[in-house]
């Protein structure tokens, strides 16, 4: 009986491991035997080829891509889906691409890198799409980029964080972090803090072991380049806490206790998604609040409803307030995206980094094809490298091949003030009457 039960446990655990793998386990890249064909029929967004369409005629241009429509990244991928749908709809309404209607062939990669890679393989070799656009999530983008590179497809993508790893000559990132965000992002933050006139003497780091946040905190692996921790030390700030936590952390109490025990003047949360709300809640329950906090890549909505989150800072490339909304077209597009997000049931509908990066990636693809005058991948790639892109949310962008097609870091610092996000630094991008609030 005892022996039977042991084998029964083993069988169940093995099955569960397979199930967990099938469900995906985060950016680390779960293994799955599911074929992309099992993810369901492709969803398409196509031109309304009726009288409202101005000039798009002929065979549709098919643009293939995946998004994490299900799984752990689905919340953020929903923003990219809504943004892409608005872009394709507007593109078709304004005459299509090269005079032809555009169809977005969208597959679900289930938040899993190997499924994303398999789906791009299918899109290129079986569905024979004309163009591809990147998925959401660092792991998925990295996996899909390898497939695009193998077939020589131009690969615009939005929010991949391992900048040093992308050396494909035809990849184009729309996340304007620059090639060395591990240096530029922290220094932008530290400059912002110092602009308040009272820099911290001590700083604490809690770091998600997700590769992107490890890169920001400690720099590229196997180099002495450093990251946020080393840059803080260079400013003479004492690092009183430096802990790394697993991606799948469920009990935040002991981490909060460590933060309270270290009591830093400023807390740098190198986390993403829900890490910051979870840590702040855990700190609230032990009656602790640091003087200042920063979180690298949070889900923007949940923090606004979190007690104790007022004053927290983060990075952004766009927020829906002046001067970003000085361009009427940006306002119009942001309104369309917000409406699409509301229609899809997403509670936080403001346009910020994710939607802006997504929109820009689509612009790259459109301008590459129009600039090259064809769908020839090499010609499109060369055109983008030679001409850059004129974008709605970033302005003119010039790609530097000697920097792996990256360009300068266009990040800004935003802060939760009065229950909403506002850009507060650099001052020329700050919302009217807003500046960094920090006092250790």
């Amino acid at each position: 009986m005892r022996q039977h039960r042991r084998w029964s446990y083993m069988a169940v655990i093995t099955t569960l491991a397979l199930i967990a793998a099938a469900c995906g386990d985060g950016e680390g890249g779960a293994t799955s035997t599911l074929a992309p064909g099992t993810t369901g029929a492709p969803q398409t967004t196509e031109a309304e080829t009726d009288t409202e369409t101005t000039a798009a005629t002929g065979e549709p241009i098919r643009i293939g891509g995946t998004l994490a429509l299900t799984g752990v990244f689905a919340a953020t991928a929903a923003i990219h889906q809504a943004t892409g749908e608005v872009f394709v709809e507007r593109l078709n309404e304004s005459g299509g691409l090269l005079g032809r209607p555009v169809e977005w062939v969208l597959l679900d990669d289930e938040s899993t890198p190997d499924l994303a890679a398999a789906a791009y393989e299918r899109l290129i070799t079986e569905d024979e799409v004309d163009l591809v656009i990147g998925p959401y999530g660092t792991g998925n983008i990295t996996a899909a980029m390898a497939v695009a590179q193998r077939y020589g497809y131009v690969f615009p993508h939005h929010t991949a964080s391992l900048t040093y790893a992308y050396n494909y000559e035809c990849h184009f990132s729309s996340w304007s972090t620059g090639l060395h965000p591990n240096i530029t992002n922290p220094n932008l933050l530290y400059d912002a803090i110092e602009s308040s006139g009272t820099p911290p003497e001590t700083i604490g780091f809690v770091v998600n072991e997700f590769p992107g946040t490890m890169f920001i905190s400690y720099g590229q692996p196997d180099t002495d380049e450093g990251g946020a921790v080393a840059e803080a030390e260079k400013r003479g700030w004492e690092v009183v806490l430096d802990v790394t936590f697993p991606i799948a952390t469920s009990d935040w109490g002991p981490i909060a206790a460590q933060i309270k025990d270290a009591d830093p003047d400023f807390l740098f949360i190198a986390g993403l998604g829900l890490d910051a709300p979870n840590i702040i809640n855990a700190m609230q329950t032990i009656d602790y609040q640091p003087a200042g906090m920063f979180v690298q890549w949070p889900a923007p909505g949940p923090l606004l409803g979190t007690e104790g989150a007022d004053g927290i800072m983060s990075v952004t490339i766009f927020e829906e307030h002046p001067p970003f909304t000085d361009d009427p077209e940006a306002v119009e597009v942001a309104a369309d995206i917000s409406q699409a997000l509301a229609d899809s049931g997403v509670p936080y509908t403001k346009v910020e980094t994710q939607a802006a990066a997504s929109w820009t990636a689509w612009e790259y693809l459109q301008q590459a094809a129009e600039g090259a005058g064809s769908l020839d991948q090499e010609a499109m790639c060369n055109w983008l490298i030679e001409n850059g892109a004129d974008t709605l949310f970033h302005g003119n962008i010039e790609f530097f091949p000697d920097q792996q097609n990256y360009y300068e870091d266009l990040s800004k610092i935003k802060q939760v003030q009065d229950g909403d996000w506002w850009v507060v630094y650099p001052s020329e991008f700050a919302a009217p009457d807003r500046s960094v609030i920090y006092s250790p």
Partner: protein, 290 residues
């Protein structure tokens, strides 16, 4: 010292929540021979319903228990009737209940979207409330989950050892045919126990809604912890589940304090492997239902 004490308290209390999340699966597996992965979906669905009832009608999240528990008891009853009808055995139940989990997850995503949902502080007085003994904090939401787990475990222990229904459950778990020969109706016993198990999972969902941000993929992250608790505690053993939850919670909390958060899952799964090697029947074997 204060830091370590806080880590231990946090581990004990979160262990209560782990136990609550594991009770339904443990009872279902131990007594009914159904490895019911749908319980993960019930925890999640319950949490979303608590969120919706609180946000839409301004109900106190704890008061939603009055609606949630009877509702999910009924769901458990219907599910067990379906399992009888489909002749689902122990191993088929893995596949069938995994299908149910996927269906419920999809329904949740369709209904509430993939985006994050959280009961706002104004409607959730328990979210960050704590009381203190010295400098050690006892978060109210976790404390309530822990006390609930203890009460349920105690009640289930009394039910299984002191009542006719409990004896019937144990008889059915050991040999349904023989139990039937002695006048026990295995189907009736199974249906009631399935209702109770599902209601326990729903109660875990109430505390998840009070303390966490919800999204459809949340349930996947519970697999490792819950099955560790179920196996360590012993199948069908409610008291064992609480003890196992506390052991895992404290071990993870202390490991986090002493060696950093990355050590917590390592310690958790070392405990699980140790249990599989040396106590595969669970920690409190003599009180096991099966």
């Amino acid at each position: 010292m204060g830091l370590l004490a806080q880590g231990i308290v946090s581990g004990v209390l979160v262990g209560g929540l782990y136990a609550l999340m594991s009770l339904g699966i443990s009872l279902s597996w131990g007594a009914l021979k159904i490895i019911n992965l749908a319980h993960f979906a019930f925890i999640l669905l319950s949490a979303y319903l608590v969120y919706q009832l609180t946000v839409s009608f301004g109900l106190d999240p704890l008061l939603t228990i009055l609606i949630i528990l009877p509702l999910f008891f009924l769901v458990g009853v219907l599910m067990q009737l379906f399992f009888h009808l489909a002749r689902v055995d122990e191993f088929k139940s893995l596949i069938v209940s995994f299908g149910l989990l996927i269906i419920f997850q999809s329904l949740i995503q369709t209904t509430w979207s993939a985006d994050f949902r959280r009961i706002g502080s104004a409607l959730n007085p328990y979210e960050t409330e704590s009381f203190f003994i010295g400098s050690v904090a006892f978060p109210l939401a976790q404390l309530m989950a822990f006390v609930s787990a203890l009460l349920i475990a105690g009640a289930m222990y009394l039910l299984f050892t002191r009542t006719y229904f409990g004896k019937a459950v144990r008889a059915v778990a050991q040999d349904p045919e023989m139990a039937r020969a002695f006048g026990v109706d295995p189907r009736r016993v199974a249906v009631i126990l399935s209702g109770l198990s599902t209601a326990f999972s729903a109660l875990a969902g109430v505390f998840i809604a009070i303390g966490q941000t919800l999204f459809p993929g949340l349930a996947v992250g519970w697999f490792g912890i819950v099955f560790s608790v179920v196996i360590l505690g012993g199948l069908g053993n409610a008291l064992g589940a609480v003890v196992a939850g506390v052991i895992i919670g404290v071990a993870a909390g202390v490991a986090t304090i002493l060696w950093g958060p990355l050590a917590a899952p390592l310690v958790t799964f070392l405990i699980l492997i140790g249990a599989l090697l040396f106590r595969p029947e669970g920690l409190l074997t003599t009180r096991s239902v099966a």
